[in-house]
């Protein structure tokens, strides 16, 4: 976009830097002029100007829902943003298998599970099942990969035990439920277990889910993280190029 000051990026509504933002929230107030003012003040504290409380609606006794528009004064420095990203190049199904043959010379063993109380298997299945996802075969379909999908609600202990048995090269964990940060707790416990048993650098450890980013994965002590829309080749490419030998 023309004329953008990357050091002072502001929201765009219909003119550059007008800072236009839409907000909605509920407040424990009655639907009244005072309630409207309360909403305006909250928006003001968030840094909004020319605040238009466009709508208010009673959603519970003594609870009102507001729709607010205004100009947000805040700006951010886009030039200061640097995010870790999975850098290893993504290869195709064929390239990956060829790569394994050539550089690893044996089958790559991958173990995956939805851990803790998480029963959401669709995401992990999208990556692992034969069928795959969005037209891409899953890891089970890769001739050079031995893929084991342990399914849902697997405890970290079981998962590690199984991975050791199978001499796995990579462990894949899926975490979909994030309420009360269960996923953080669960993933942290997994890494602690690995370290306790001094297995941390035996495996390429990968976690994925709609609320996961590579950045978060690194913070939690994993090698890589895959978020929404990830595809099997993304994951396989990463594994084979980062495998410990």
């Amino acid at each position: 976009m023309k004329g953008v000051d990357k050091k002072n990026l502001r929201a765009y509504g219909d003119t550059l830097n007008d800072g236009k933002v839409q907000l909605s929230f509920s407040l424990p107030v009655e639907r009244s002029p005072e309630g409207r003012e309360a909403a305006r003040q909250l928006a003001a504290k968030m840094g909004m100007e020319n605040i238009d409380v466009a709508d208010m609606k009673t959603v519970g006794s003594g609870l009102t829902f507001f729709v607010v528009y205004g100009s947000c004064v805040h700006s951010i420095d886009a030039t200061a943003i640097h995010i870790p990203k999975v850098e290893t190049p993504v290869m195709s199904f064929y390239e990956i298998n060829a790569y394994i043959k050539k550089n690893i010379g044996r089958k790559v063993v991958v173990v995956g599970a939805c851990t803790g109380s998480d029963a959401h298997t669709v995401g992990l299945d999208a990556i692992m099942n034969m069928k795959g996802y969005a037209g891409e075969y899953g890891l089970e379909r890769y001739p050079e990969i031995d893929a084991y999908n342990l399914g849902s609600q697997v405890s970290n202990e079981e998962l590690i035990k199984f991975a050791v048995e199978k001499k796995a090269d990579a462990i894949l964990i899926s975490q979909i439920v994030t309420q009360k940060d269960v996923h953080i707790k669960n993933l942290t416990q997994f890494v602690e277990l690995l370290e306790a048993e001094e297995l941390r650098d035996k495996f390429v450890t990968i976690v994925g889910g709609p609320r996961l980013s590579h950045e978060l994965a690194l913070e939690l002590g994993f090698d890589a993280g895959f978020g929404p829309g990830s595809l099997p080749p993304d994951v396989a490419s990463y594994i084979v190029q980062n495998i410990r030998m």
Binding site: S26, G60, F65, V177
Partner: protein, 524 residues
Amino acid sequence: MGRNLQDKLIVDQALVARCRSASRSIADDIQVHIDKNTTTSVERTVARFLGIDGVDSGGTPLPNIVVDSVNESGALGRGIYYWLGNAVIETGKTPREIAEMVDKNEIRLTGLPQHSEAEVRKALESYTAKTVQRIEEQRKKREEELSVRPSGPEPWLYVIVATGNIYEDVFQAQSAARSGADIIAVIRSTAQSLLDYVPYGATTEGFGGTYATQENFRIMRKALDEVALETGKYVRLVNYASGLAMPEISAMGAVERLDMMLNDAMYGILFRDINMKRTFIDQYFSRMINAFAGIIINTGEDNYLTTADAVEEAHTVVVSQFINEELAYRSGLKPDQMGLGHAFEINPDIEDGFLMELAQAQLVRQLFPEAPIKYMPPTKHMTGNIFKGHLMDCMFNLASVLTGQSIQLLGMLTEAIHTPFLQDRALSIENANYVFNNARHLSEEIQFKKDGRIQKRADQVLQETTDMLEEISEKGLMDAISRGVFANISRPLNGGKGAAGVIEKDKDYLNPFLEIFKKELGIK
């Protein structure tokens, strides 16, 4: 209830007849297995019916303690009813007191002198009658309430609360009712299905939902009855009679006057990897309780489409509905208690996807005209784009009013993000009220073209349904499940959780509740 029934589609009744006869033989086959066995959970249910409740110092529910103690001595095949009755005769104490003694190891139920079945029946007669009566009272109370404070026209607005804290749930449920909700479901804490017991007391902590406990049921029932007085509309309360404690939860619901129960014959097997033999036995007794209590069950076919593709696997939903229907009949459920489920889960970006949704919804409506069909919203294809999500829910609502669905589980614009905020729910209710009212009689105004895309799609789904049902009826349902015909999930015959809880009945197995319910419900 002013259901909107329009024969928009030509449904080949010959195929329908074949579907039903196949389902019958499928169910007969399962029933043989059911009749031979009981389960720890069925027996715990009997214990509860006899007034045993509460937990021990370690937090283990007394029903589990009593049943497990008898099971350890390998004597559960006689039925917990017998052992408790026997102990009552011996001690002169109440079943509840006896349970506490068992907990304190002050008594071994199987160690006492054994009295005759007749004596035992006699000893527990009053306890038994009391429970049966309580359930009947609650059913009557519901009927009265509904006649004084009737629900609106179908589709009924069904919303969920899931804060994990029952008191927070109450506020949210009452708010939803005031904004127009007809039905409130308290979503359970994540995977309560897997607990082989029922938690106790009021709870304020939970993941993704609030534990189903008898106290929580009581608190919410009271809260909803309060609002009803305000709004003049009885609000139905829903919970989940699913998983390893399936019949116990039905029992609690019957006593606390829940109005609907998610109660599927196969959900636990497929989605919670619970042993299939266990589940079939549990669902039989569980559903019988619901039948007797006048509770509407909701089946969980919607779940199939969260893992399988809604276009390719559409027929598996209908297959499951036929099987659920047939098994439900065997538990004495009447058609108007069968909230057979399906869902609006076709990828929103498919051209004419809406036509396929209409075909499916209308077909289901016409196949089960007396059933209060439960229609589930788009979930799998919902994304963080709440604006588009709200539109998908709008089309879902339109499909529902256009095809005369009965129970509308409202979609949430934040489905892909978090369990609903209070305002999310209010916006969903606004969405449904707008669409239902604005297109109230559209269904009566339009017809589907013969040989059109919609008719053809319905024909195809019905044909595939028939073929699949007949295939299953040959090999048997258990075999089919182990081959993964539903939701692309396969479960081995003897695998899964809770298999150990299946106990073969002795020839003198005693369970008067089963007898009474069967008699009352006119089950052969």
